[in-house]
């Protein structure tokens, strides 16, 4: 039974191999059946294992040892998997949402010539992500960690004839690798201090360390830097908006529901370490809340449907990190789950819209899609209500839990987070109203083409909409009942010390803020039928700053990229060619006494004389001894 765990990552790997090798020889039907079948198989196994084993998780994780990956001296790293409450929750999200997105893709990508390559990459991604969550040590986790980065790179640059897309892919990979360097550093420190990279051993030894010790702080900060790369937090968040160059289902799966939550998963997985590093926890909370508000402030002025959702993802991930920083691990995972549902829903919905608009992504030229695409419209609205935190959609519960923790521990964080929640409601409904309400603002030709998407795309939307509506009941606040998820995960973090009255009051406040956000959006874009102006029109400075993403990309370019390029140039043409090499040639000349060997060497014959001389010396030396 336990060995079934191995099949979970193995099936998508097989799908990748078959579609990767079969490539052009297989028909689209076969390709999508293999790819979707593989991930569906993993999903079924995940569900079966969840229901049969969920009670045994409380005692000990189930470990399956495959083989010794690296094993010598004191260095042991097995290729081994571990199933416990945390990994089984992630398995269900990845395989469940992953399967729906595979199905959606069969419709969305049906016109694509490179159908097989797309599905092969998608399967490879699922394999990597499943490795990441199933690992039983940090190095196997790192396989998945880097693997998802690779797949993200391959899928962002899927349409590789476009140089801009491949530049976005490169940016994603490199920024991830900056985080990975820190991650590796953390692994070395763990190995040095705990003598192992296996979770159980690491946490056991770590518990003997005192709170706030330097070692623990450095390890956790390094891990956190790793997480900022993968999960798009300040300062390594700028790759995620660019990653929208990839096909939209990819944005839904990788850049919303799964990969970008790897950083949160990793911190929850190593919460034993983080509990011992309060300083790092404060850092995480501050970075999280700052990322949340900065990204939200950018999202409010974006006109590209996917860019809005991308910044929204960065912002929501910020909420999750805020939760982590507050020690609210279960709340963070709760938001990971609800966000996976509603953000995958929103991205797929936007995909459906883009599909109908023949590739157009500019919301200024959309509008009135409600009557053309009833299913997409209804499900997208559910997604918006969920992310805005309207009771009793899933986002309401998960976001309110985080806000309650913030209020309990540090009211300033709560204020910033609450403002962000208001901004979130505003930009999501700005997006919704501009896209679906009012009248169509494109050409007649475009309007003629508007159509609802095929069943393969609408069914996943409907299922996700149901999940986005109902998943919140798994994590009810104390005033309403029992938090099933928290009980199931039973991660040892901080607990909430709020009275029931305070809890209810907080809910009222946050719902009011969300309603205000929605109302403003309604007033501007429905009542006054405002449409964001063309890029060229002069705007207020604050608006310009937001629209230009606070010029962070430009800042990085001037502060980091340009200087490195400049230094490299200097090193090559200055130090390397004119410095070291000239010195070597110069000393060569001095030894041979010619003063200008190079000149002599250019007369072919001299070189042969010199060569003969060397050979001669060698022969003499040999003969002396023989």
């Amino acid at each position: 039974m336990n060995n079934l765990i191995v099949l979970i990552p193995l099936l998508p790997l097989l799908g990748f191999i078959i579609n990767g090798i079969g490539n052009k020889k297989l028909s689209n039907g076969v390709i999508s059946t293999i790819a979707s079948g593989a991930i569906f198989g993993s999903f079924v196994i995940s569900v079966v294992l969840f229901f049969t084993l969920r009670h045994s998780f409380e005692q000990a994780p189930i470990v399956v040892h495959l083989f010794n990956w690296i094993d010598f001296g004191n260095f042991h790293v097995p290729m081994a998997f571990q199933l416990d409450a945390l990994s089984s929750l992630m398995l269900l999200i990845i395989t469940g949402v992953g399967f729906l997105i595979h199905i959606f893709s069969t419709g969305y990508m049906s016109h694509e010539t490179d159908f097989a390559r797309y599905f092969a990459y998608l399967n490879l991604f699922c394999f990597s992500m499943l490795m990441l969550v199933l690992a039983n040590n940090f190095l196997v986790m790192f396989i998945g960690w880097e693997g998802v980065g690779l797949c993200s790179y391959l899928l962002i640059g899927f349409w590789f004839t476009n140089k801009e897309y491949t530049a976005a892919a490169r940016k994603a990979f490199v920024m991830n690798r900056i985080g990975d360097l820190a991650f590796i550093g953390a692994l070395f420190m763990m190995y040095q201090n705990f003598g192992s990279l296996e979770y159980e051993q690491v946490f056991k030894v770590a518990r003997t360390f005192s709170v706030d010790s330097h070692t623990m702080t450095i390890i956790t900060v390094l891990l956190f830097i790793g997480a900022t790369g993968k999960s798009a937090q300040i300062p390594l968040y700028t790759w995620l908006p660019d990653a929208m160059a990839g096909p939209t289902p990819v944005s839904a799966l990788i850049h919303a529901a799964t990969m970008v939550t790897a950083g949160i998963f990793m911190i929850v997985r190593s919460h034993v370490l983080f509990n011992l590093a309060p300083w790092t926890m404060d850092l995480i909370a501050v970075v999280g809340v700052l990322t949340a508000i900065v990204a939200a402030a950018i999202a409010i002025t974006q006109n590209d449907i996917k860019k809005v959702l991308a910044y929204s993802t960065v912002s929501q991930l910020g909420f999750m990190f805020l939760a982590l920083g507050l020690g609210a691990y279960s709340a963070a995972m709760f938001h990971v789950m609800t966000h996976a549902f509603f953000k995958a829903l929103l991205f797929l919905g936007s995909g459906s819209v883009i599909h109908a608009c023949s590739g157009n992504q500019d919301i200024r030229t959309m509008g009135g899609l409600k009557k053309h695409m009833p299913i997409t419209h209804a499900t997208f609205l559910v997604g918006c209500l969920a992310i805005a935190g309207i009771p009793f959609f899933s986002g309401f519960f998960s976001k309110d839990e985080i806000l309650a923790f913030a209020f309990d521990q540090q009211p300033i964080l709560w204020i910033v987070a609450a403002i962000t929640a208001g901004l979130t409601a505003f930009y999501m409904f700005r997006l919704y109203f501009l896209t679906f309400r009012g009248t169509f603002r494109g050409t007649h030709e475009q309007e003629y083409h508007l159509h609802e998407s095929p069943v393969s795309m609408t069914v996943p939307l409907i299922i996700l909409a149901i999940l986005a509506s109902l998943a919140g009941f798994l994590g009810l606040p104390h005033v309403m009942g029992h938090n099933i998820l928290e009980h199931f995960l039973s991660v040892n973090g901080n607990v909430l010390n709020l009275s029931s009255g305070a809890e209810v009051a907080l809910m009222v406040v946050s719902v009011s803020i969300a309603t205000i956000g929605i109302f403003i959006a309604y007033y501007l874009y429905v009542k006054r039928s405002m449409v964001p102006e063309a890029d060229a029109t002069p705007k207020a400075m604050t608006y310009r700053w937001s629209q230009n993403k606070f010029y962070v990309d430009e800042l990085y370019d001037y502060l980091i990229l340009k200087p490195i390029h400049f230094i490299s140039k200097i090193m090559y043409s200055g130090i390397e060619l004119l410095g070291i090499d000239a010195l070597v040639n110069g000393s060569g000349n001095m030894v041979t006494g010619t003063g200008n060997t190079i000149k002599y060497l250019q007369y072919g014959k001299t070189s042969y004389y010199l060569f003969a001389m060397i050979i001669f010396i060698v022969v003499i030396l040999f003969s002396l001894f023989i």
């Binding site: 490539n23 083989f67 010794n68 990956w69 690296i70 094993d71 010598f72 001296g73 004191n74 260095f75 190095l139 396989i143 880097e146 693997g147 690779l150 640059g157 590789f160 004839t161 476009n162 140089k163 491949t166 530049a167 490169r170 990979f173 490199v174 690798r177 900056i178 360097l181 590796i184 550093g185 692994l187 070395f188 420190m189 190995y191 040095q192 490195i564 390029h565 230094i567 490299s568 140039k569 090193m571 090559y572 130090i575 390397e576 070291i580 090499d581 070597v584 040639n585 060569g588 190079i598 060497l601 250019q602 070189s607 010199l610 060569f611 060397i614 060698v618 040999f622 001894f625 023989i626």
Partner: protein
């Protein structure tokens, strides 16, 4: 006598081929068959077949010099690395070159030199093989290349390395005469017994030779020019196998010989290595010629190997062993990829290319796999070695690791840039000349790419092969 035969067969075949052969003979095929036979025979060393692992013959009794060979785990790894790569290197060549019989004869002769270096257990014999390997490669690199400056450049390489190895000769003679024997055990014993000050200069004599060969910053300037100017096969031999002579030299003929000298200069050497990693990675990022970029990336990789060795931990030695194998495979595959691009399009300037991925999907896939191995993605052959090496550098100094670790980022940048420039984007008139791999080409690149994955997923056999030998070298 098995070991001796294994080593001498290529020499005999090579001499016969170059002396008796002519342009009508299918020299490439003959050499290929010989090298594959040698490879298969060398696998016999890995199993427990009762084959002898060492040979000792009297050579110069007056000076206690023996013709003695021995193969422990590390040597076996190097033997297999050599015998594995040589057939590939032979197969990448052109079958219609003029004087092909001399070329392939020289390649086989060089193989003997290399195998001798990796198995010699007598200091003087080690030196003889060391130089024996150099002479064929000089001719291969210089005379089968089309580069205009090849004569000057390869000559500079030749003089530079000879210059270094003469110091090594001095050290070996000194140790041999002092201990009245050139056998490796005697040299270890003599070296260890020397006072620290003497060990210090012996260290430098040996180190200079190895550092130039690898090469380590700042002794590296011969390398990019030589790699670029040489024939493809010359470059592969130099980068895939010959530079490992320097690394192997450090592991076998430096660390255990003068431990006090190593201790004295360890910090300086690691600092040089780390500077070299960052410096050459930065330079690799601004190269326009893909061959020169690959050459600089090789210096960066070798710098990390050397740094790991000089950290003197079990992780560093193991990482170095794994990485020598991985680097050999990856760099030969990379230079082959470069050669394919240059042969088909007539240019190595990355900016002139683009869009090849849509034209040649098989090539694109295999190039991708090799690239991933080079940037050390987990589950490729580059990862475990690089991880262990960085961990060794970390145990020496966290700051050093932070800088050495930049290779993770910079390596990704220059490799991805190169791949993007060559493979992605729109086709242009130059790159549209590129046709996908022929079966013969696939037969070279596909096995190499397979090894990239297999050794990354399951490095255990290699680890177990070298582990006991490394323990001995570290004196654990």
């Amino acid at each position: 006598m098995f070991l001796l035969t294994l080593i001498l067969v290529p020499l005999v075949a090579g001499v016969l081929l170059s002396l008796l052969g002519n342009d009508k003979l299918p020299s490439q095929r003959i050499a290929l068959i010989v090298s594959i036979a040698v490879f298969i025979a060398s696998l016999g060393l890995l199993g427990n077949f009762g084959l002898d692992q060492s040979t000792t013959l009297n050579w110069i009794p007056a000076l206690n010099i023996h013709f003695s060979l021995a193969a422990d785990g590390l040597s076996k790894l190097m033997i297999v690395l050599t015998t594995l790569l040589v057939p590939f290197i032979i197969a990448t060549g052109n079958s219609q070159n003029k004087n092909n019989h001399v070329l392939y004869g020289l390649i086989l002769m060089m193989q003997t030199g290399l195998l001798g270096v990796f198995t010699a257990s007598d200091g003087f014999l080690f030196y003889v093989f060391w130089e024996l390997a150099l002479i064929p490669i000089y001719f291969i690199a210089a005379f089968w290349s089309k580069d205009q400056n090849r004569i000057n450049i390869t000559l500079k390489f030749f003089i530079y390395t000879i210059f270094g190895s003469l110091f090594m000769l001095v050290a070996i003679i000194y140790l041999g005469l002092k201990g009245d024997s050139f056998s490796i055990e005697a040299i270890y014993a003599t070296g260890k017994a020397l006072p620290a000050a003497t060990q210090s200069w012996v260290f430098w004599c040996l180190f200079i030779a190895f550092a130039i060969k690898m090469p380590i910053f700042p002794f590296h300037t011969w390398q990019p020019n030589t790699y670029v100017a040489s024939s493809t096969q010359g470059t592969m031999l130099l980068s895939g196998i010959m530079l490992k002579m320097g690394i192997y030299g450090c592991m076998r003929w430096l660390l255990p010989v003068v431990p006090l000298g190593v201790k004295e200069w360890q910090t300086l050497v690691i600092v040089l290595c780390v500077i070299g990693i960052v410096y050459t990675s930065l330079i690799a990022m601004v190269q326009t010629d893909i061959k020169r970029m690959t050459a600089y990336s090789s210096i960066a990789h070798v710098g990390l190997i050397a740094a790991g060795i000089f950290a003197q931990t079990p992780e560093g030695m193991m990482g170095a062993s794994l990485q020598m194998l991985a680097h050999g495979i990856n760099v030969v595959a990379l230079f082959y990829i470069v050669a394919l691009i240059a042969r088909r399009t007539g240019t190595r300037t990355m900016a002139d290319l683009g869009g090849i991925a849509q034209q040649a999907p098989k090539f694109a896939t295999l190039f991708m796999v090799v690239m991933l191995g080079t940037i050390a993605l987990p589950l490729t052959n580059g990862f475990v070695g690089e991880f262990l090496l960085l961990s060794a550098v970390f145990s020496f100094s966290g700051v050093a690791m932070a800088f050495a670790g930049l290779t993770i980022i910079f390596g990704a940048i220059y490799m991805i840039n190169a791949y993007r420039a060559v493979m992605y984007g729109e086709l242009n008139p130059i790159s549209s000349k590129f046709t996908d791999l022929t079966t013969a080409e696939l037969m070279v690149l596909a096995p190499l790419a397979t090894l990239v994955i297999v050794l990354g997923v399951y490095p255990s056999p290699v680890i177990h092969l070298v582990e006991p030998a490394l323990k001995g070298l570290l004196g654990v």
